[in-house]
């Protein structure tokens, strides 16, 4: 029988996009948490960590409320793009983004705080702006642990089920990601499809784990 590979390609697209977004957003948040003092710092830390401990369906429910067609953000999105955000593949990206962000923030913050502060001092005393310190000194020194975390985040995005099904739904050929497709296949008694998808996703996860271990060095920056 012919296997429909659409869920795999969709999942890969969602995971790549959400990981890229999570890396940028996560580094930015981690930088603030690691180097700046501001009111509500611990609250921000707790807020970005929350998805790690919340049940995915709860996180999905919150996102549905915040991004739904009746919410201001949902309205705004609809006004910009002409269509709703929820129950599209873009919503799956948002789901994966929030699901993997805590991982990246946690490890990026640890990586940044692990950098010997004299490198930052040296760069500043040589006249570098904070932006230059970040781009030329902090980022390269934190790159490896952040890349490793990104790989894990990618795997997590690839396999997200609960959040995705809440806000992107299960529309075959449009929002059905691989994790959802496997559930669907089992439910409808399509064992062959489920087995094929499970094998593929397991192989991909193994490769990612191996790559993450390769890129994460035992040595610490600085």
């Amino acid at each position: 029988m012919a296997i429909d590979w659409f869920p795999l390609w969709l999942s890969l697209r969602v995971a790549i996009l959400s990981t890229a977004l999570a890396a940028v957003l996560g580094l930015w948040v981690a930088y603030w948490l690691a180097f700046r003092d501001f009111r509500g710092k611990e609250a921000l830390d707790a807020f970005v960590t929350l998805p790690l401990v919340l049940p995915p369906t709860v996180l999905g429910f919150y996102l549905l409320v915040v991004l739904g067609r009746n919410s201001p953000i949902g309205h705004f999105y609809e006004w910009i793009t002409g269509g709703p955000l929820v129950f599209t593949w873009q919503a799956a990206v948002v789901a994966a983004l929030f699901h993997s962000l805590p991982l990246l923030v946690k490890s990026a913050r640890a990586a940044l705080e692990n950098i010997n502060p004299t490198f930052v001092r040296a760069a500043r005393s040589l006249g570098a702006t904070e932006k230059r310190v970040f781009l030329r000194v902090l980022l390269p020194l934190a790159a490896r642990p952040v890349l490793a975390a990104s790989a894990i985040a990618f795997a997590r995005s690839l396999g997200d089920f609960g959040v995705t099904i809440m806000i992107a739904g299960n529309i075959p050929g449009r929002t059905q990601t691989i994790a959802v497709a496997i559930y669907d296949a089992v439910e409808s008694g399509n064992g062959a499809l489920a087995r094929a998808l499970v094998l593929v996703i397991s192989a991909v996860a193994l490769v990612i784990l191996w790559a993450a271990n390769r890129v994460a060095p035992p040595r610490t920056a600085g």
Partner: protein, 356 residues
């Protein structure tokens, strides 16, 4: 001219004693050495000048520019201060080659100009052959030169060095001192350097500041301080002297002498201005100024009988350490025949006696 009047208090914590810094550093150029024991506030002074640490109150100026002023709440960011800082561990960026490290410091220049200046600096510090290497591939001396070159490329108005010779072997130390002296001559950048190595302070300093417990005990030329420590505390920090507590017994302005009592012994010293009979004073003499001789008969004028505790090898001479704590130097040739003798006399030449 560099001026730093700094006050900063660190209240005692649960696991640390309190510390307070209260110093007034003023230097006009050349190499200024901050000398003192660990934890006396030397590096903190550098950090306050560079802007890494904000002093509680005071003022930091270079020339006519105010970098920090507690009263008017001026506190420039480190990048606006143009203070070249050479860190104890060099702080070369590990992900950049040596040349990239230098280029980072010259980023404010146009590309061609930057390339030319970096090349000139590599040449100047004999780093040409290693320009493409990463810091972990360099030797200690090369890293040292690279971090000085990098600091200079940013055109600093002062060069701050934090224990630059830490971890270098003696030959490299000498080379470093050579580099510092040539930097002083060539770049006309004032240098402020922290060390707790006395030989290093003497090797390079034009001006020396003696630190202890967050205050400056004495400021002056190394030779001047060596010849005449201002207080017993300075002599203690330098660690080069016998310090004997004594009492003024008599003062004779006519003959320009005084009588001092150290334990049960009488010593004749130079006349003491501003001291009175009965004052407690410190006699401060260097071991090489004392004359140690095997004891023969009654001790004469300014001689004290002493028991030898042990003798240790010094580069120049034997150092005899006596039971009472006095130390005296003796040439090896003179000591060798007397190596089993325990009974000695030390003589305090009147001219050598500093009384503090």
């Amino acid at each position: 001219m560099i001026l730093a009047r700094l006050k900063k208090r660190f209240p005692p914590g649960t696991d640390s004693a309190g510390f307070s810094l209260d110093v007034d550093v003023k230097t006009t150029g050349g190499i200024t050495v901050l000398f003192g024991p660990s934890g006396s506030g030397k590096t903190l002074t550098l950090d306050c000048i560079a802007g890494f640490v904000r002093p509680g109150e005071g003022r930091v100026m270079i020339g006519d520019d105010i970098l920090f002023d507690g009263a008017t709440n001026v506190h420039l960011a480190p990048r606006e201060r143009r203070c070249g800082y050479v860190f104890q561990n060099y702080a070369l960026f590990p992900h950049m080659t040596l040349r990239q490290n230098l280029e980072f410091a010259a980023a404010f220049r146009a590309k061609l100009d930057r390339h030319r200046r970096v090349s000139a600096m590599l040449e100047r510090f004999r780093l040409n052959d290693m320009a493409g290497l990463k810091p972990h591939e360099l030797s200690g001396g090369q890293k040292q030169r690279c971090s000085i070159a990098r600091a200079l490329l940013a055109e600093p108005r002062v060069l701050l060095l934090d224990e630059p010779a830490q971890g270098l072997d003696p030959a490299l130390r000498v080379e470093l001192h050579e580099v510092l002296r040539s930097v002083r001559a060539e770049f006309e950048t004032p240098i402020v350097m922290v060390t707790h190595d006395l030989a290093e302070a003497f090797a390079v300093a034009d001006e020396m500041l003696i630190y202890q417990n967050g205050t400056i005990l004495q400021q002056g030329s190394p030779a001047g301080i060596f010849e005449k420590p201002a207080t017993a505390a300075v002599a203690g920090v330098l660690g080069l002297y016998n310090l004997l507590e004594a009492e003024v017994v008599a003062l004779d302005p006519g003959r320009n002498t005084c009588d001092l009592r150290y334990q049960e012994f009488d010593l004749h010293g130079p006349y003491l201005k501003g001291k009175f009979k009965g004052d407690r004073v410190w006699i401060c003499v260097r071991p090489e100024e004392l004359r140690a001789t095997p004891r023969a008969g009654r001790p004469g004028m300014n001689q004290i009988p002493v028991q030898l505790h042990r003798a240790t090898q010094r580069p120049g001479a034997m150092r005899l350490e006596f039971e009472c704590g006095i130390q005296a130097d003796l040439s090896r040739a003179e000591y060798e025949p007397q190596r089993h003798n325990k009974d000695w006399t030390v003589e305090f030449p009147t001219a050598a006696m500093r009384v503090l």
